[in-house]
Symmetry: C2
Subunit: 434 residues, 2 copies
């Protein structure tokens, strides 16, 4: 008797749409934390998010079919937070805290849907943007990126037969497992999944998260993906992102206000969150100027997430700064999250071991590392540096300087103005792979 | 750990074409027997086969996408007999006989491919025809019908979700199994699968054949489907079809030749085949006239396959005819194959038990009975009466009268001429369901 399940097979081969994003919880946790603050304090601010492909050699509009892209984006717009999801958001402890989300916020969230998008093609790239109230557009970032990245993988795999696919995933699994074995050898390491936006696919991210859970056990501290956290009883992790200082800076009406913008973010944040959620993201307009001008109370925060400086050099500067302010780095936390590979994690871990608490937010190289896995050579499965950044706030241009000039975004004239105000100290150009 | 096989899933959802016919052996065995004779004796005869949908209420051109139909037909044209298939055709015993196919014929068959087709739409129906040398066009009949029937099922199931499909097939399986239980209760019955052309799908036919094998054991004598016979070590069954007398009649140059055409078929056939392959198909131009004018040697043949008269009435007439010719029907074989349902099989079996050897070639109601199986009411899964008949031979119109006027095919004026020559005795109009 042949073992074909005819019903299942017929179903598999008559699919109309294979949705990439199937839940509004399939996003990064920090988006929800930020959203509560935006909803509470800045409900009238408009913000535009725009897709930026920094890997210009990859012509996304040639690789991905526009019709499929629209279908996926349209499908994401049909999503609502489900009852189960709302109950979980309200009832689960996050960072050891009950009811981190206010009932009024959750009541509003229940009616949330993603707003409309604008999509066109230009020079082989997609111009995709989301305009409207910040408290709506902000939630597009992660699903938009996940959709484009997965559509790209799908397109790349369309030519593969069943065995090529079997081999592809077998190799990727073997590769991933070898990484967990290396990481397991680092006592006391703490690693979490930050790979939602750049993942190869949802199912592959899920596999990686589950593999990490089994492979490194206690060293795996959780995932930024809220849906995966809920489904796998993992900690949902993440704090805040560049969009906060970027919008605040864009809204500043004077040079003084602009220079204060990064600290105003922290003050606002503190009204909502405490403890381990008090993590400073210092590099929006350069870490050096941030530390130089920071008020003393910033040193009371739990930790920093250096996100664009070289990790050891950048981390050491933060340690010095803490020491100058009379703080013992051993009580402090550094969260590394910029383009981590196993090698970087190992080096950084060895360097800082015993000096500071550390945590690694592992992204693209966790959930989208298929290099050398395809049976036939292809670049189409290599991850690209795709971001979705806030580009305007209330009609004014938004800018990010970063510690790495290659990661700067925004209008060039505005970048120059910001550089004059914040300075260029310690900015180091590094190749942005992902 | 989630149990999704990612590679398999990606493969399932990126299919380009799900070919319905994947082997030239996925056809009825009698087509190959006839083909050898056509190739050997009538290689210069041209014959056109045309699709005829007798269920005119079903608008095939509305239900089936033309692009998909062309893709499937084009795919069938890429097929060749594979090495394994050629070896099996040459090495297997058919009807107890070694090397039923001549080496020269097999050598020619190795290069065989299906010829081109003509396809257009008219009044909601497809006009599909195959013109050219008979020894090529003849092999289109079965794959063309199987393709159209399965495309129709696929279209009908497109709207079904995974559970609706699961229920559909579960019910169809339960229904099918109940039939095997009824048939098992008839001692000594002999049943074979004749359902290739009208099947719901290839996989479903395979399931039915395997279910019959397990369900009725020795009573299941084999299948007309050569591929399923090869793959399941079953007997490949079938002898000859109406196209032989129809072409011979069309080529007749006089009334005398026309009246002799049905017997000339048998003479030619006997040059190639013997024993249990000597089965007369008597109804092409009416069984009554066939028996009335038949030479004595026809009574020496192993049996008859009455294919359009009511089975008991029609069978009794053949028994009488044998007795008149001094033959004992108990030594003879009747093969019933016209629109059989379990009820007809039971009645016919009970009526003829002990009087004559019997065999049932079970077609449409074996491999395409989904009535009442769909969770939502639909007619789109009901089998229809679709045939692919020879309509011209060397440019002359071909005609079939049949014992059932509803099954007559061909130009109306020609039908009237044939009726004048062969007579109308015993023709009984019956509803043609399938």
């Amino acid at each position: 008797m042949a073992r074909t399940d005819i019903a299942r097979r017929v179903y598999n081969h008559t699919w109309k749409l294979d949705p990439i994003v199937r839940s509004l919880l399939d996003t990064d946790f920090y988006k929800l934390l930020m959203l509560q603050m935006i909803w509470g304090m800045y409900p009238k601010v408009d913000a535009t998010f725009s897709l930026i492909n920094r890997t210009t050699s990859v012509r996304l509009a040639d690789e991905i079919d526009e019709g499929e892209l629209r279908e996926q984006l349209d499908h994401a717009r049909t999503l609502r937070f489900s009852k189960k999801e709302m109950i979980w958001l309200g009832g689960n402890n996050f960072y050891g805290r009950k009811q981190i989300f206010e009932p009024e916020f959750l009541a509003w969230l229940e009616g949330f849907r993603l707003p409309d998008y604008e999509l066109s093609k230009r020079d082989g790239q997609y111009e995709l943007s989301f305009s409207g109230p910040w408290m709506y557009t902000t939630l597009w970032e992660i699903p938009a990126l996940a959709i484009i990245n997965e559509l790209r993988s799908r397109a790349a795999m369309r030519a593969f037969g069943p065995f090529a696919l079997d081999v592809l995933y077998a190799r990727a699994k073997a590769k991933m497992w070898a990484k967990t074995e290396r990481l397991k050898a680092l006592p006391g390491i703490r690693i979490s999944d930050f790979g939602t936006r750049r993942r190869h696919s949802f199912l592959w991210q899920r596999w990686c998260v589950e593999a990490l859970k089994e492979g490194i056990g206690e060293a795996f501290t959780g995932t930024s993906n809220v849906l995966l956290a809920m489904d796998n009883d993992l900690e949902a992790l993440g704090t805040n992102a560049h969009e906060l200082p970027m919008v605040f800076a864009a809204l500043a009406n004077s040079e003084k206000e602009l220079k204060q913008a990064p600290y105003k973010v922290l003050q606002d944040w503190q009204r909502y969150y405490g403890g381990n959620l008090l993590i400073v993201l210092p590099d929006a307009f350069g870490t050096a100027s941030f530390l130089r001008d920071a008020p003393d109370w910033v040193a009371d925060w739990t930790g920093f997430r250096p996100d664009s400086a070289p990790p050891i050099e950048g981390g050491e500067k933060i340690l010095s700064w803490w020491r100058e302010r009379g703080k013992d780095p051993k009580q402090k936390l550094l969260i590394f999250s910029d383009g981590l590979e196993v090698e970087t994690i190992e080096e950084t871990y060895r360097h800082f071991k015993g000096k500071v608490r550390m945590s690694f937010g592992w992204g693209t190289n966790l959930t989208n590392d298929f290099e050398g896995c395809a049976p036939t050579e292809t670049n189409s499965l290599d991850a690209i540096s795709l971001v979705c950044k806030v580009t305007e706030a209330n009609g004014r241009p938004a800018v990010k300087l970063s510690d790495n000039p290659a990661k700067a975004t925004g209008d060039e004239k505005e970048i120059q103005r910001y550089l004059r105000i914040f300075g260029e100290k310690d900015r180091v150009e590094q190749l942005v792979k992902v």
